[in-house]
């Protein structure tokens, strides 16, 4: 902390008024670069874990234990030709991957990594998250439409209907958190979960159904298995990114994994007390947040290794007929519960 202050003072002395934007850019880089690194190694972790669950070793040829595999994949994708399909709308086709990735990264602005450690400690943090995550779908729709390909278009339509349906369940689940925390500030939500009993104070206990619904809806929002109908390879080739190659494809890939990490971080912050320690005798620290996030990321991969893909009508039924009524009821339950002395959180 003292070191940070000296750096800040030095910067202010050197650059004066221009220091603030420079410092913000530095902070953004400090958040974004580790995310990019995590995404790279998450792809390796996914292939390794899927491999282990299928009783095989996973990639192990590039570097020791396959540790250089993400690097090899990245270089391959960078060097590949970007093919623009005939009769596609070129600008939208090229803009779509960027539109997919940008919200996935922008949402990180309000995630508190530790007490007071957030890029932007805004009051409407929760709303901001909801708004930004709902924008990710534009990348997918535009990609599907601009590709001028029926597979891409079908994938985009599927993903669109899916995201719109599950966003509602997700939003209602977050409304419960908002009720419990009585704040939309992400830092306050975590601080509201602080108690002398460690993990008993976290919101996943009173809001357990919402916790489950939120994470499952999160899996659906990121188009991950078993909800990966948008890129249902046995039916619509690769879905919305059928026509993408090289860097465009890599950006979609990055966006998907960045979204996975984001959902893990959000679930940890909203329901599992973010940076709070699960037991009172250990100090709170950012490490707890990372541990919780890793757990959820592992769940993502575990789900993919276990469950077969949903059929489309089953997916819609789950979203509209199960999750939305369940979340609506729980909003009422929590609101009533909070008026009674039985509410201990």
């Amino acid at each position: 902390m003292a070191l940070l202050q000296t750096i800040q003072q030095m910067g202010q002395g050197l650059l004066g008024a221009a220091w603030l934007p420079v410092w913000t850019v530095v902070k953004i880089l400090v958040i974004v670069l580790p995310i990019m690194g995590t995404v790279a190694y998450l792809t390796l972790a996914e292939r390794k874990i899927l491999g282990w669950m299928q009783v095989r070793p996973g990639p192990n040829r590039v570097g020791p234990w396959g540790l250089l595999q993400p690097l090899a994949d990245g270089i391959k994708l960078l060097l590949k030709e970007v093919i623009i399909p005939a009769n596609s709308s070129k600008y939208l086709f090229l803009a779509a991957p960027v539109l997919a990735l940008a919200p996935a990264l922008a949402a990180w602005a309000v995630i508190p990594f530790d007490d007071g450690m957030a890029l932007a400690d805004v009051n409407a943090g929760l709303l901001y998250i909801l708004a930004i995550t709902s924008l990710g779908v534009y990348g997918i729709i535009i990609a599907g439409w601009a590709s001028n390909s029926k597979y891409a278009f079908l994938g985009a339509l599927r993903s669109l209907a899916q995201i719109v349906s599950y966003e509602l369940a997700m939003g209602f689940a977050l409304v419960c958190v908002l009720l419990a925390a009585q704040s939309m500030n992400m830092g306050d939500i975590v601080r509201g979960q602080q108690s002398q009993y460690g993990l008993l104070g976290w919101y996943f206990i009173p809001l357990f159904p919402m916790f489950v619904v939120y994470f499952i809806a999160g899996v659906a929002e990121t188009n991950r298995a078993p909800f990966d109908l948008a890129e249902d390879e046995s039916v619509i080739v690769a879905g919305f990114h059928t026509e993408y190659s090289g860097m465009g494809f890599a950006l979609f890939f990055l966006a998907e994994y960045a979204n996975m990490i984001l959902i893990s971080a959000l679930t940890s912050v909203m329901f599992l007390g973010g940076w709070l320690s699960p037991v009172p005798f250990l100090p709170n620290s950012i490490i707890w947040l990372l541990v919780k996030m890793s757990f959820f990321l592992f769940l993502f991969l575990w789900f993919r290794a276990t469950f077969p893909r949903y059929r489309y009508d089953q997916l819609m039924r789950l979203g509209w007929k199960v999750f939305i009524p369940l979340t609506l009821i729980w909003v009422a339950v929590v609101a009533a519960w909070m008026q009674t002395p039985l509410w201990l959180w």
Binding site: N123, L130, A131, Y138, I141, W145, L157, L160, I163
Partner: protein, 211 residues
């Protein structure tokens, strides 16, 4: 000109440009996307006014949900542009009159406030000022009846929309997912106990044939 003014003009220019493109661009999908851009720039302007709740809600509701559904429909529709532009000049005077009336109304509404409160600048709020909380308080106290009325109207609209589109088609064979999920093994599988075949009855015959 300070930084905030610069940002304001940037957003204002963007929204005017985007709004113009919405009505001039030929392809309806592009028009919808320009409308999204217009919403975005308006959200930016609202943010400058410290109305962060409204700005984010605009993005969340209009950009995140309404325009997505719009795009959904526009992409699926096979819009015939020639047919669309057929009656343009016939309806043009009517459109101009309508636009003029709307501009006049807007000027009246906005202009009245401008003149009555000339020189009054928006007060700067403290850092812990919560726009959301203020808005919530107003909506549930002073404006509770209009607010509830709007909510009821929306509900009626939802019911009406569903009632208009709901129809049972007899020729469609759809699966009953609830029934499929509720199916248990016991419903469909019957375990049958059968005595084991004696050696020499069937297998024995084959042996003898081979020999």
């Amino acid at each position: 000109m300070n930084f905030e003014t610069l940002v304001f003009y940037l957003f204002a220019a963007m929204s005017v440009f985007a709004a113009l493109r919405v009505i001039t661009v030929r392809n309806p999908v592009y028009a919808a996307l320009f409308l999204v851009l217009a919403f975005f720039s308006m959200a930016g302007i609202w943010l400058l006014l410290e109305a962060e709740f409204l700005a984010i809600t605009l993005v969340l509701v209009y950009v995140g949900a309404v325009m997505v559904l719009f795009l959904f429909v526009v992409m699926m529709l096979d819009v015939d542009l020639v047919q669309l532009r057929e009656g343009f000049w016939r309806w043009f005077p009517f459109g101009v009159v309508l636009a003029a009336i709307m501009v006049f109304e807007m000027v009246m509404v906005l202009g009245a406030r401008q003149t009555s409160e000339t020189g009054v600048h928006l007060a700067k709020h403290a850092a812990d000022y919560s726009n959301t909380k203020e808005l919530g308080r107003l909506v549930y106290t002073d404006y509770v009846y209009p607010f509830e009325l709007a909510a009821v109207l929306l509900l009626v609209a939802i019911v009406a929309a569903i009632a208009l589109t709901l129809r049972r088609r007899k020729d469609v064979k759809s699966q009953n997912v609830a029934q499929q999920i509720a199916a248990r093994r016991e419903d469909n599988v019957r375990m049958v106990q059968m005595p084991a075949e004696k050696k020499g009855s069937v297998a024995g015959n084959q042996e003898s044939e081979k020999a």
